[in-house]
């Protein structure tokens, strides 16, 4: 495992990218004991518009809090892919949502049915961000499954734990299938 990861989670405002960034950072920082910094950028509008959260996970102290060379990219929409995929490391892992990102200009991108499975299996498209986090954990090992689950369940609203656990399992499964 590398000792420093720069991760960018991107999509449209309202898709839960910033929430996903917080859950990932808390999992790696508080439960896995790494150094983490999480930051975000978004427009003045509450919904829509490209939105991104960045998480840096490192064994060493982190000074500059923004990502400059992406090791792991998640793009949930075509707009996010086009806007945020220009500074990938050569060996970066790029994961996109197969429903919304159709037009890929790079080879080796992992296209997963994140929002489709969220709708079909959980009945909630909004939970695609959790499926994505689990897939990222499974594919890259950047965060432990246990830490991700603890962080997620400490942050989600009461009564939604079961659906969130289900989303995690779907994500782990998609990740395993993608790695084959």
């Amino acid at each position: 495992m590398k000792n420093r990861y720069e991760i960018r989670l991107s999509g449209s405002g309202g898709q839960g990218m910033i929430t996903a960034g917080i859950i990932l950072a808390e999992a790696a920082g508080v439960y896995d004991g790494k150094n983490v910094v999480q930051s975000q950028s978004y427009g003045p509008e509450a919904r829509g518009g490209a939105s991104k959260a960045e998480v840096i996970i490192s064994d060493k102290e982190i000074f500059y809090p923004k990502a400059t060379a992406i090791d792991i990219l998640l793009a949930m929409t075509q707009e996010a892919w086009e806007k945020y995929s220009s500074d990938l490391n050569p060996d970066a892992v790029a994961i996109v949502d197969s429903w919304y990102v159709k037009d890929l200009d790079k080879p080796g991108v992992i296209s997963l049915p994140l929002s489709q499975k969220a709708r079909e299996e959980v009945g909630l498209e909004i939970i695609a961000n959790v499926i994505a986090l689990a897939a990222i954990a499974q594919i890259t090992g950047v965060v432990s499954r246990e830490a991700l689950e603890r962080s997620l369940l400490s942050r989600v609203p009461k009564g939604t734990e079961e659906k969130n656990r289900q989303a995690l399992e779907i994500g782990f499964r998609l990740g395993k299938e993608a790695k084959k």
Binding site: I22, G29, N35, Q38, S41, P44, I62, Y64, P65, T68
Partner: protein
């Protein structure tokens, strides 16, 4: 007991720091990128028996904290540029009436409505001179989530001791960034609360000599009678036109800072022992500088970082000494030169000073600072 380690935003850490410091009143009006401070205070204060009030605008917001503080509360408000502009008149009132309170400004891009969701460090001069007249200013600038907590506590302590509004000058970068921090245990950080008067109400003077820094002062409603006004006043708080009393009052305000600089000033230095180049930076911009100086050191360049966490009063003496010592100073900031101007004012030795600035709502990148450092060595 297990350590309480949390992932927090700078804004959340600020609110938690306020609670730790004993803040029991928050009045304000929400504005991006400071809203999380108000949200956290609204959640926490009622549970502690404190009061949270959302007012109709920022003018009313600062008005409530001045009133609450005059009545003995430890009070805070939080805002950003447009709201900070509206607060200027009453900030001056707080200075003149000598009311302790904490004003948080999470800086965003300006002027005017500017960039609601993007950061800047361009309110440094407004913090110092935004309200009219000669007046004392204390402003603190954190560069991390943990510092956001600790400097909020310090801001309350200084407000109580120096009996004046203290500004916490955050920026969107640190305010919205999340890092993990270990929560200080109760009693771990020193807290200061001003003493109450011990003389009888008949003998009490609200602005008596010895009461300006670290002295006792009474709360409204405590049985001690006094007047509060924005007019220049005598020891009892009543307006005066007498030259000697005006001079006394103005010296009193000035001396708060001038006679206590050492305990107010804090300048963090990294790698400065053998440095030939010094990067001057603070707040969010310092994070880029911290990365850049490490990369430059790895290339064998003798460079260090000078980072004031007290930006007002400006640490003249410490920075003057460094200007005399090094060959080149690089001033890295997210504004068009507000920090630079202060450095130039101090630069009597005509040391080479190079600005590195950005003002497009984004942080300086470490490379922008590194390139300036490398350029110096050519």
């Amino acid at each position: 007991m297990s350590k309480d380690i949390r992932l927090l935003q700078g804004n959340e850490a600020c609110a938690l720091g306020a609670i730790y410091a004993g803040c029991d009143f928050f009045g304000g009006y929400p504005i991006t990128p400071s809203t999380e401070v108000a949200e956290e205070m609204a959640l926490m204060l009622p549970k502690k028996g404190g009061k949270f009030i959302q007012m109709e605008d920022e003018i009313a917001g600062i008005g409530t904290i001045l009133g609450a503080a005059a009545a003995g509360a430890k009070a805070m408000t939080a805002t950003s540029g447009p709201g900070f502009s509206l607060m200027m008149e009453l900030l001056g009132y707080g200075c003149m009436a000598e009311i302790p309170c904490v004003i948080v400004n999470v800086q965003r891009g300006g002027p005017s409505t500017g960039l609601p969701t993007k950061g800047a460090q361009a309110d440094m001069m407004q913090a110092r001179w935004g309200t009219h007249g000669d007046h004392p200013t204390i402003a603190l600038c954190p560069s991390s989530v943990e510092e956001s907590f600790k400097l909020t506590v310090k801001a309350f302590n200084l407000a109580e001791k120096f009996r004046m509004p203290v500004i916490l000058l955050l920026d969107e970068f640190i305010g919205h960034m999340r890092e993990k921090m270990q929560m200080p245990a109760p009693g771990e950080l020193e807290l200061y609360t001003h003493p109450q008067p011990t003389v009888s109400p008949a003998e009490y003077t609200h602005y008596g000599d010895g009461s300006s820094v670290g002295g006792p002062y009474a709360s409204m409603g405590s049985g001690y009678r006094f007047n509060i006004t924005g007019l220049t006043h005598d020891q009892h708080g009543f307006p005066t036109g007498r030259s000697d009393e005006i001079q006394w009052k103005m010296d009193r305000l000035k001396d708060k800072i001038e006679k206590h600089r050492p305990e107010l000033l804090e300048v963090d230095q990294e790698f400065m022992d053998d440095a030939e180049i010094a990067v001057f930076s603070y707040g969010g911009a310092a994070r880029s500088a911290q990365q850049a100086i490490r990369e430059a050191r790895a290339r064998g360049i003798k460079v260090g970082l000078v980072r004031p966490t007290t930006i007002w009063p400006f640490p003249d003496q410490a920075l003057e000494e460094i200007l005399r010592k090094v060959k080149t100073v690089i001033v890295a900031e997210i504004s068009q030169g507000q920090l630079l101007g202060e450095i130039q004012r101090l630069n009597q030795t005509h040391t080479k000073v190079i600005p590195v600035q950005r003002y497009d709502g984004e942080m300086l990148t470490p490379n922008e600072v590194l390139n300036a450092i490398v350029e110096v060595t050519k």
